[in-house]
Amino acid sequence: MEVHPEAGKEGKPSCALVELQGDSSLQVEISDAVSERDKVKFTVQTKSCLPHFAQTEFSVVRQHEEFIWLHDAYVENEEYAGLIIPPAPPRPDFEASREKLQKLGEGDSSVTREEFAKMKQELEAEYLAIFKKTVAMHEVFLQRLAAHPTLRRDHNFFVFLEYGQDLSVRGKNRKELLGGFLRNIVKSADEALITGMSGLKEVDDFFEHERTFLLEYHTRIRDACLRADRVMRSHKCLADDYIPISAALSSLGTQEVNQLRTSFLKLAELFERLRKLEGRVASDEDLKLSDMLRYYMRDSQAAKDLLYRRLRALADYENANKALDKARTRNREVRPAESHQQLCCQRFERLSDSAKQELMDFKSRRVSSFRKNLIELAELELKHAKASTLILRNTLVALKGEP
């Protein structure tokens, strides 16, 4: 199924998720996207006056796996150990939507033609919404990279943006996926170990606080995200319920020969309009609340990862200290031990400094994003409630006015 969303700027979720201080020296956006059978092809457009690039404006076509490759490249790069790596965009998942469309196609004979048309319309809108969201997620990933003073200068990033050919990055095979999974386990075990290490004292209150805070925050925001999803789905369910109700009222109305005829027909119309409003409430909650919570769940995980790397560096520093002491007592290989310790110290301090900045940026980013989204959520809820009240009142007036 080929779907081309408008490349327009209206209401792009990316703006809502992250407030970016963009400077015009490097602007990245996803100008187009095509959904084919199994994959989505994103057209990444770059506008830049940086000397590094051959042209000032150019685009390439990328797939999801290439985004993941880029993300992993950043994560594995020691240079960026002290930075929060923007979370990778989630894999485009149209499975659920496709299944629903298929089930609808298989048909249910009790459903009238109008009902069927409406349900199909709803599912197609859902498919489109998922599509738009995945585009936004991929875009915001790139835009954060482009806005970060250090990350934007990465060579792999340039390649990603400019290289005209396919990057020949295949999706991770089973072994690699398993490897990634194991790495995570090792990481958590390691983290547990080094925190339990005697002598490893967190000297900085700031980081101590951040660690406690992030651990709890991440769990709770994940919870909130899941539950917000359920609320959104319930709203969607409710909106869908109005379809058969409206259809049945319509049939009742056409059959009646008395005054109830107009009443039923008006009611059928009312429910149809309420359905659309309820659907919009659902999708607004999705964008402004669920998506925002989900993004910051991932971002807080990235922040946790940063803290882990710093802690690892601290542990290495401590170990180097111990090794140096040992070497001094034995008076053997003092020089290499000294230089190693120096390196570890420098690394640790470098990481701490940049981590501090990154975490403060994370906080301000989070606060402004929440603020923007909560305001927009409240405003939209108000808008829909007022619209509902209006159509309900109009119908009431019409019904009461009849003899």
Binding site: H209, F213, E216, Y217, R220, I221, D223, A224, R227, A228, R230, V231, R233, S234, H235, C237, L238, D241, Y242, P244, I245, A248, L249, S251, L252, Q255, V257, N258, Q259, L260, S263, L267, L270, L274, K363, R366, V367, F370, R371, L374, I375, L377, A378, E379, E381, L382, A385, K386, S388, T389, L392, R393, T395, L396, L399, K400
Partner: protein
């Protein structure tokens, strides 16, 4: 207007009989009108000197001859004995929804009582036309409330007692306000009596609420959870609507059984209403036999009105069922939404607690409060969805079943008349045979016998025709009244329901308007 009917074959031209028939009809309608007016002011002119007393037990005691035992059983068989259908379960199942108190629905129901009370006084000393007009014009000053469900006894013998309060200015009642305690089987007993008296002559008797062995067992066993309180409230509201519909019927209102039900402090226990009693099983068997019989009666419908109406009601039934199923789904999903909103509110509160930016933390806590209030709103709306919309539909689905039953009775009446005509024909043929037979000694006795039988069957044929005409006439009137009621009922409830939706939206506006400045205050 005279109902068209197929003249039975071989009618003996006896004009005098016809005239008597006409008088008989007048007798009948004036009986009805006597019952409608107050017993203290009988109409002078058209009352014959016969056995029509104000205390008659409805049409049964006078002209309609029930010598056929089958009739009684049919009447019994049309009662609602069905157990709760599985589709009701979504409402009764113990979902993980927050505690549901019966208090809220009562406040939703209370306004309905007011809307159903008609406060114009009953005018005495009316002419027949006025009475008929009034019957179509709903001015009955009587208001019924069913309240205070109370568990009496315990274990499997426990039952719920409901308080039935009547407020009225009708003089047929001894007081203007009084209340009694009744249990569910009492209501079923009342319906049973009314149905047996009025259904087979064409009156649409409102059906009683359905039994539920599952629901009642939970209550008996003493489960104090939300699903059993919901069940009791649902039943209470259903009983109230049942009584209100019954007293709105001008003929039923005059019935002494109804009066006794509303007034007397002690009521003999109606045991035949138990689902698993002998009478109950007999009812179920008869219902099945009835269904088979219905399929084999082929009536020559000469009046298109009846065919048209039956088709209309059939269509209405189908559409209402469809709508009802969809509304039940709506109720279910709204309850889910309420539960999910409550869960989200909690997690938003937790998130607010961990948030270390003060202003954002406060805003998140406010968001949690808003969501909690919205959850309450959804719950209340789900109640409105159910008690106003869904229950109205299920009431009318059962009412239409009663209407269909009345049409069926007319068919049976016609069948009886047909059968009488066929038998008469056979007797006449037998008479003719005897006339030409060659047994002189037995001939006189046989002649007399057959003559007697012929006279008997001629009377039955006449009676059959009268009954058929009467039931047709009654049904026409009843359907007219029913349709008027239906239009009013639906309009009233639809308006109330929409008003509840408006209220929900207005509350939402209030909550979000209060939240917006909090969100803007995040610095």
């Amino acid at each position: 207007m005279a109902a068209e009917r197929e003249p039975p074959p071989l009618r003996d031209g006896k004009p005098t009989d016809f005239e008597e028939l006409e008088d008989g009809e007048d007798l009948f309608t004036s009986t009805v009108s006597t019952l409608e007016s107050s017993p203290s002011s009988p109409e002078p002119a058209s009352l014959p000197a016969e056995d029509i007393s104000a205390n008659s037990n409805g049409p049964k005691a006078t002209e309609v001859v029930l010598d056929d035992d089958r009739e009684d059983l049919f009447a019994e068989a049309t009662e609602e004995v069905s157990l709760d259908s599985p589709e009701r379960e979504p409402i009764l199942s113990s979902e993980p929804s927050p505690a549901v108190t019966p208090v809220t629905p009562t406040t939703l129901i209370a306004p309905r009582i007011e809307s159903k009370s008609m406060s114009a006084p009953v005018i005495f000393d009316r002419s027949r036309e006025e009475i008929e007009e009034e019957a179509n014009g709903d001015i009955f000053d009587i208001e019924i409330g069913v309240s205070d469900p109370e568990k009496v006894g315990d274990g499997m013998n426990a039952y719920m007692a409901y308080r039935v309060t009547t407020k009225t200015s009708l003089s047929m009642f001894s007081k203007s306000e009084f209340s009694v305690k009744r249990r569910f089987s009492d209501f079923l007993g009342l319906h049973s009596k009314l149905a047996s008296k009025y259904l087979h002559v064409g009156y649409i008797v409102p059906p009683a609420p359905e039994k539920s062995i599952v629901g009642m067992t939970k209550v008996k066993v003493g489960k104090e959870d939300s699903s059993s309180t919901e069940f009791v409230e649902k039943r209470r509201a259903a009983l109230e609507r049942y009584l209100q519909r019954t007293v709105k019927h001008p003929t039923l209102l005059q019935d002494p059984d109804l009066r006794q039900f509303l007034e007397s402090s002690e009521l003999p226990r109606a045991v035949n209403t138990q689902a698993l009693s002998g009478a109950g099983i007999l009812r179920m068997v008869n219902k099945a036999a009835d269904a088979v019989n219905k399929m084999t009666i082929k009536m020559n419908e000469s009046d298109a009105w009846f065919e048209e109406k039956q088709q209309q009601f059939e269509n209405l039934d189908q559409q209402l069922r469809k709508l009802h199923a969809s509304v039940e789904a709506l109720v279910c999903h709204r309850k889910e939404l309420s539960a999910n909103t409550a869960a989200f509110a909690k997690s938003a509160a937790m998130l607010g607690n961990s948030e270390d930016h003060t202003a954002l933390s406060r805003a998140l806590s406010q968001l949690a409060e808003v969501e909690e209030k919205i959850d309450q709103l959804h719950q209340e709306q789900a109640f409105a969805d159910f008690y106003m919309f869904s229950e109205l539909l299920s009431d009318y689905i059962r009412l239409i079943a009663a209407v269909k039953g009345v049409f069926d009775h007319r068919m049976k009446c016609w069948q009886k008349w047909e059968d009488a005509q066929i038998t008469l024909l056979k007797k006449r043929e037998a008479e003719a045979k005897i006339m030409v037979a060659n047994k002189p000694d037995k001939i006189q006795q046989a002649k007399n016998e057959i003559r007697e039988e012929i006279e008997e069957w001629e009377a039955k044929v006449q009676q059959g025709e009268r009954d058929f005409e009467q039931i047709s006439k009654t049904i026409r009137k009843e359907v007219g009244r029913f349709e008027k009621e239906r239009v009013k009922d639906f309009k009233t409830v639809i308006i109330k329901y929409l008003e509840s939706l408006v209220q929900t939206q207005q509350q939402l506006i209030k909550y979000w308007e209060a939240f917006l400045p909090e969100a803007k205050a995040i610095a």
